[in-house]
Amino acid sequence: MKRVAITGLGVITPLGNSVETFISALERKENASIYMPGWEKYKGLHCLVGAPARLEDEKLIPRQNRRSMGRLSIFAVQAAQQALKDASLPQEALSNNRLGCVIGSTMGSAESIAEAFEILIPDNDLSQLPSTKFFQCVSHTAALNVGQFLGITGTVMATNAACASGLQAIGAGYDLIRTGQQDIMLCGGAEGLHPTVVGSFDVLFATSTKFNQNPKATPRPFDAKRDGLVCGEGAGIVVLEDYDLAKKRNAKIYAEIISYSSFGNGSHVSESNRQAIASCINETLIRAKISPKEVDYINAHATATIQGDKEEAAAIAKIFGDQIPVSSLKGNIGHTLGASGAIELIASLMMMEKNRVYPTLNLEDPDKECRGINHVMQPLSKKINILLKNCFAFGGINVSLACKKSA
């Protein structure tokens, strides 16, 4: 099996549209949650807080590429461009079928889907629908658009698994390179913020509803006062490369992916399950051939839901006890859904580079059911050689990925 290196990073986040601006904002402990004007018109929507990204420079994408892109695809393309530039790949790398992309999102562009139905439903009139709206709405819209825009002729795939989309994409790319099917993969996830998406969590009582007048105080992962998630948006894309080829061209290597696993919990469509989470994390450790104490940092999924946070904390406590620093970045950027695994992995790789763990923002008093693990509540200087990234999605889809600093 080939080894796999991460050689390029690109992000669009609620705290900045580049890795540099995003990380600077994390270092300043910024929170992107704001009261979303206009959401109050949705009857029955209780959460009025979101963490939007800024859509900018979209017209730099030529119209005939941009016409098939909803909001999340624009984010994905911009992040992919950044990652490619960061990786400094040779020009010819894009022009053969050994370079592919795997990009996921929860769904097609929510905004475009809403627009399409707003056009269609009043008179059941299909004739008013623009053709390009369809390409914005399909579930594989991010992969479709990145693939077309960059002229990718390698494997183009979409991993659409809600909050696990981005990390599953990276895992899929890892497997394609490991097995020798591809040499370079652009992988990650994207999502667009829209009240209908928030609404789907809202009806499940999973959103934060008590902080509409004080948005900066939410979300609160692991905290005793947490009351649910805040939806964000953006994109995270990494360049994965055959490790030996990366070394040969003297590429900058952020880290090596040393294992990945994804398992279902087979028990409930929306509830997390600590045994299933622990089982997934354990398998990741086994595949990496490392013991729990060799992990230096865990970037948690922890979205600030009552149920999810405590299940993840229990699983981490069971395997790692309180020895390994744990933090969730959702206190800063909310839950960027399909993009979250990729954006948060990228932040974790920067923590690895800087030997610094960013804390869980808004975590002031760990809930009693989330204790027993080493919560990072202030910035921590620590050498990170091996990190673990977790993501858990609706449908009981659990994903865990381990990276090791490259020598």
């Binding site: 119209r63 005939q64 016409r67 004739s127 629908l129 623009p130 053709s131 390009t132």
Partner: protein, 85 residues
């Protein structure tokens, strides 16, 4: 509807929906070669024109022979006259 109104509203569609500079919108401009529209754009052009002018043109055979902006504007004018507007 006057010819001037048809020209103005057609141009608005090309500027707003296809981001084409107004200076390129000459009657002799070929929609595909000069204005750069492709087959996917034509589908959306039809939708946009239908909405702009309140007409149905999608299934009209005459659409197929349109090549220039001038052809399109004359076609719209004809349709509007046919429906008495």
């Amino acid at each position: 509807m006057t010819e001037q109104e048809v020209i103005k509203l057609t141009n608005e569609v090309f500027v707003d929906s296809f981001e084409i500079e107004k200076s390129k919108l000459l009657p002799q401009a070929n929609i595909f070669v000069d204005l750069g529209l492709d087959s996917l754009d034509v589908v959306d052009l039809v939708v946009a024109l239908q909405k702009k002018f309140g007409v149905t043109i999608r299934d009209d055979e005459r659409v197929r022979s349109i090549r220039t902006l001038g052809d399109l504007q004359q076609f719209i004018l004809t349709i509007k006259k046919e429906i008495g507007k």
